[in-house]
Amino acid sequence: MGITIRNLEHIYMEGSPFETKSLSGINLEIQDGEFVGLIGHTGSGKSTLIQHLNGLLKPQKGEIIVNGISTLDKDADLKKLRSEVGLVFQYPEHQLFEETVYKDVAFGPKNQGLSEDEVRARVTEALHYVGLDESMFDKSPFELSGGQKRRVAIAGVLAMRPKTLILDEPAAGLDPASREEILTQIRALYLNSKMTVILVSHSMEDVARIAGRIIVMNQGKIDMDGKVAEVFGEAERLRAMGLDVPQVSRLVKALKERGIPIDENIYTIEKAKAAIMLLMKDKREA
């Protein structure tokens, strides 16, 4: 049934000299099964927006309807909403608290009131999804590496089997290999399940590679919203907002400008490589 946002507005610390308008006039429709990349410069309101989607923040103005229920509704079952819309915060490893990895991941499903067996099944599944095997289950989460901690925290949300998964900068602060791995796992998860995924990121490369639709936020407003090709087609506008298109896309554009017949809508290294190899081959054969 998806998510509908109408005229959402949010002001932090209203009425004090520190008040900041962090969201205004947000209208948005997200269908079930979409993979949405949410980008925007620092402070553009991304984190504020996604906290509205599971009812952690209530609309000050406007409304949000998630799976047919308004979060403003007094009878809205917030617990149910939060298990349907899983939210992984920025730096989620800071919220680990249990003695063992297993127990920490089990926190969510236990709060859902599931049986012991069901909890076990879900925890095992979630930890496998993020690439952690049984040998890790009884370790203390605090003796893991940063990347492993991050994965445990993500598993903690996955174990609730949300219909919608929202990740706030899941790859921030990780080394390139872990980055790659986490993003690949998210992509695989999306393809294997019927989840809706919303990925918040600063990295154009990451978003270009795995999202189908991109929403660009600028100063609390939605500035662009469309398919990857449409959004990255407007490089100038992105640059004016302090964002950029993926490097590869700049390369492709530069090649095109020099008269090389290459498809302009290439945003990933793999595709660019394939296209260039093909061109080289054609050239050699000619």
Binding site: N54, L87, Q95, F107, G108, N111, Q112
Partner: protein, 266 residues
């Protein structure tokens, strides 16, 4: 919830009070407190209220900020008011069915106490709204300095205080973030019996303590790597100065409190 506690928040504005030496403001507040607790008689109260109002206007802090600072304490003000109203012996002016006596003396005392409490809160708020935590602790350090001769670690105390004050907002922010993150996993902080609620706090307190220790560790390393060696030989970026304004403030305050005490005891 946590954000509603505005008492103790500095507002960076530009007013004579903001420019004043923090020592003047601290000592001034102490004098005012003495005044608030000794004041008697309608002239005395009128003087104290007028002076507090004057200071509030002088501070250029919006009035609604003071009102907001009072809000969490309304309950205490009303509660002590009711206690005074009904439990003070004297001429009964009203009796209800449950043999609660409302007395004339009680009514007077209730009003007086309410005024004192409100003045107390407002005048402390003036100090914290107009003085940044750094200059506040600087002021306290300077005021305590004479006591270093008898072994009081003035600088260390002040440093501890500024670090603690500095990290209050950070901790509040962190608490909010962690509590949100756990709520996103279905944690429920608001329902159940006392034991259940206490247990529900574990997922919040553990990460909070861990991050507090981590921060403390990082701060210690950062301070040492910038050669922090305690107070001796340290100079200040913004030295505090006692100016003419402070002298006049002192004169006015001392005379005011002098009058208040005179009104009471003479």
């Amino acid at each position: 919830m946590l954000k509603d506690i505005t008492l103790g928040q500095y507002l960076p504005l530009n007013s004579p009070l903001h420019r004043m030496d923090p020592r003047t403001k601290i000592l001034g507040l102490i004098l005012l407190l003495v005044g608030i607790f000794t004041v008697e008689g309608s002239i005395g109260y009128a003087l104290m209220i007028a002076f507090t109002l004057f200071v509030v206007l002088l501070s250029r802090v919006p009035l609604k900020m003071y009102v907001r600072g009072l809000k969490p304490l309304w309950f205490i003000i009303v509660f002590t008011g009711l206690l005074n109203l009904f439990l003070t012996p004297g001429t009964t002016i009203y009796v209800n069915g449950y043999s609660l006596h409302m007395t004339y003396e009680g009514a007077v005392l209730a009003v007086k106490m309410a005024i004192r409490l409100i003045l107390l809160i407002i005048s402390s708020a003036v100090l914290t709204y107009t003085t940044s935590p750094i200059s506040l602790t600087d002021g306290i350090e300077k005021l305590l300095y004479p006591f270093t001769k008898i072994g009081l670690p003035a600088h260390e105390l002040a440093m501890m205080m500024s670090i603690a004050i500095r990290f209050i907002p950070t901790l509040i922010e962190e608490t909010e973030k962690i509590s949100k993150a756990q709520q996103a996993r279905g944690a429920d902080f608001g329902s159940g019996g006392i034991i259940q609620r206490a247990k529900a706090l574990v997922p919040m307190l553990v990460p909070l303590f861990i991050s507090a220790f981590r921060r403390a560790d990082e701060l210690a390393v950062a301070m040492e790597s910038r050669c922090y060696r305690g107070g001796t030989g340290r100079t200040r970026l913004h030295p505090i100065h006692f100016r003419l304004l402070d002298l006049w403030t002192g004169v006015v305050l001392v005379s005011l409190i002098g009058v208040i005490i005179a009104l009471r005891f003479v």
